[in-house]
């Protein structure tokens, strides 16, 4: 096997009796954009801090090109990092901020000057070189921080929720910049966010954290279309969970009985289930159809409310056993006169529904 570029091995970090990170193992190839996604307190930052060296792991190892980083002090790891908070040096100009890592490395003046110009060009802030950080907007400050973190060509760039303090529009703008910079520089990026959309837009792969463990690692599509656990299914995208009883599984396709008594077969089963086991069936709101087709399963619902969301409509409906579900057909698929409260059938492809233990 070829050696992975960055490798996190069985990383564990305990604070007293509380274990913030359990046994995280990840291999990251060179040039990958990997995102740590997960709810607050799930151990994303702690894992990142172990890589940069702000926190010593309780056990486990971090290897860069096969060599352990743990014995190397933070300032000698040569890693780039952009923080959640604004961390520009307040008394230095933008240009001097970007030059700082090169100056501590005692690079010759001419090289520093050229590199600063290149980096400010990369983040498109050439004309701000002489400003002090206090005279920049939040978005500009984070772009300078990015330029500073890349100025010394680090092999890895860590970003801990760099955009969380910015408003939505600015965030999207800088996301696009980050994608472009990743493409242009080819730097390996570890990115932390708790915003799933951001993770889906930016990353090659996502590691989904829950309670200090990685729940699933994969592309956005893997996590969305093939969630390994109900937590992943619930965290990425929107989802409906219906109570169901498992009857049998043949060749990965399960047959279940829903609470209203209807039978559905051909469900993708994650793991094996007993006969009669209580389970939960996950169906994405967008997976529901309003027209029958030969392979589809059906569900009888009472429509409670319909709202227009532009591209899609959002139907709030209730199953005959009273469970509320969320349905998002395309707007074109549903004429507006259908939007009256009534009982009707909705359809879904059993292959796009997932069965999880209750």
């Amino acid at each position: 096997m070829t050696q992975p570029f960055l490798s996190i091995r069985k990383l564990r970090k305990a604070f007293g009796a509380f274990t913030a990170v359990h046994d995280v193992t990840l291999d990251i190839p060179k040039g990958e954009f990997l995102t740590f996604l997960g709810p607050s307190g799930s151990g994303k930052s702690t894992t990142l801090y172990a890589i940069v060296g702000f926190q010593d792991p309780s056990s486990g190892d971090v290897l860069l090109q096969g060599k352990s980083l743990l014995a190397v002090p933070s300032h000698k790891r040569n890693i780039g990092m952009v923080f959640q908070r604004y961390t520009l040096f307040p008394h230095l100009s933008v240009a001097e901020n970007v030059a700082f890592p090169l100056r501590v490395r005692r690079r010759p003046d001419a090289e520093v000057k050229k590199k600063v110009a290149d980096m400010l060009g990369l983040v498109r802030l050439e004309s701000f070189a002489e400003r002090l950080p206090g005279a920049l907007s939040g978005g500009q400050q984070q772009r300078v921080a990015l330029a500073r973190a890349l100025a010394y060509d680090p092999p890895i760039l860590l970003m801990d929720e760099p955009l969380s303090a910015l408003d939505k529009k600015l965030r999207e703008e800088i996301q696009a910049e980050i994608r472009r910079i990743h493409r242009e520089t080819g730097v390996t990026i570890l990115y932390v966010t708790h915003d799933q959309e951001e993770a889906l837009h930016l990353s090659d792969r996502i590691a989904l954290f829950k309670d200090g463990r990685i729940e699933q690692t994969g592309t956005g599509e893997d996590l969305y279309l093939r969630p390994a656990t109900d937590f992943v299914a619930g965290f990425i995208g929107n989802s409906n969970f219906l109570a169901a009883e498992h009857l049998e599984t043949v060749g990965g396709a399960a047959t279940i009985r829903l609470a209203d008594g209807s039978l559905v077969s051909g469900i993708s089963a994650n793991g094996s289930f007993e006969r009669g086991q209580k389970t939960r069936l996950m169906i994405r709101p967008e997976a529901f159809r309003l027209e029958r087709n030969p392979a589809s399963a059906e569900l009888t619902v009472d429509v409670v409310d319909v709202a227009f969301y532009g591209e899609r409509r959002r139907i709030v409906a209730r199953t005959t056993t009273g469970q509320e579900i969320d349905i998002r057909p395309t707007s074109a698929a549903m004429a507006s006169q259908d939007a009256t409260p009534s009982r009707r059938q909705v359809f879904f492809d059993p292959g796009a529904a997932f069965l999880f233990p209750a």
């Binding site: 300032h75 908070r85 961390t87 040096f89 307040p90 501590v104 490395r105």
Partner: protein, 266 residues
């Protein structure tokens, strides 16, 4: 709020008047001294029958006054340097440190501010006599540094609390050693606190008289001690002139401190 200044009606006027009265009561004696230092009456008659700069001429002609002023300035400068250095280290421990007894240490370092000075003066006098430090510059500086420390720690610790440690961490990730990061990034970022600390600890020593009386020797006298001593010998307007200069420098430094703070607040 009930007692919001803008909503107090007539109380506002009353409060303003009362504050003005207190300020006048505190400041008038100083104003008198300054006026008397320019007055022509040797007997400090008020109002002065005429105006003159004689007393200042006499003051500058007497080398013992100049010497006392220089001694004061030297001791105050050394005190300021020492207090700022110790204040910096103490502030890092108090703000960043996580250790048992941190609050006790904070209290201990700030006690000189509330401890009756005369008690401290007697204690340190007895102690330094035994060590042979009485009447020496080192003794003066050490004693004054203890008194000045709270005035150094408070502005530095406040500035350090307002400084986001992530900025220092960022410097370390950029390749600066922890010490380099503190010297090149953290200290310049909290410089306003350091300047204030230097000015206030200079002043704490510059106009300190109680400890100075105990520490002084016939050959080592600070300006306040010299004023105090001359006052007991005879009441000359020269003393008023010396006092005015003392107040003048104090006032000038306070103004510098205030300007610095205003400049960096915006």
């Amino acid at each position: 709020m009930l007692l919001d200044y803008d909503h107090m009606g007539w109380l506002k006027t009353a409060l303003l008047g009362f504050t003005a009265l207190v300020a006048a009561f505190l400041l008038l004696p100083v104003v008198f001294i300054v006026l008397l230092s320019f007055g022509s009456s040797r007997w400090l008659a008020f109002p002065p029958p005429g105006w003159t700069l004689n007393w200042y001429q006499e003051l500058f002609a007497d080398p013992s006054w100049l010497e006392a002023a220089l001694t004061s300035a030297r001791i105050a400068a050394l005190t300021a340097i020492l207090a700022v250095l110790i204040g910096l280290l103490a502030s890092f421990a108090l703000v960043r440190g996580e250790f048992r007894g941190r609050e006790i240490l904070r209290g201990l370092l700030l006690t000189p501010m509330v401890l009756p000075v005369v008690v401290f003066a007697i204690a340190i006098y007895a102690f330094f006599l035994r060590l042979g430090l009485g009447g020496t510059t080192i003794g003066f500086v050490v004693a004054h540094t203890v008194l000045a420390l709270p005035f150094a720690i408070i502005p530095i610790a406040t500035a350090l609390e307002g400084f986001d440690k992530s900025i220092e961490d960022a410097a370390i990730v950029c390749g600066a050693s922890p010490l380099q990061a503190k010297l090149r990034i953290t200290l310049p970022s909290i410089r306003i606190g350091i300047f204030s600390a230097a000015i206030f600890s200079f002043l704490a020593s510059w106009d300190e008289v109680v400890v100075a009386i105990f520490m002084a020797s016939p050959t080592l006298q600070t300006l306040p001690v010299k004023i105090w001593g001359s006052l007991r010998a005879d009441l000359s307007p020269v003393i008023a002139a010396a006092s005015s200069l003392l107040v003048g420098l104090t006032l000038a430094l306070m103004i510098v401190a205030a300007l610095l703070r205003r400049k960096f607040k915006t």
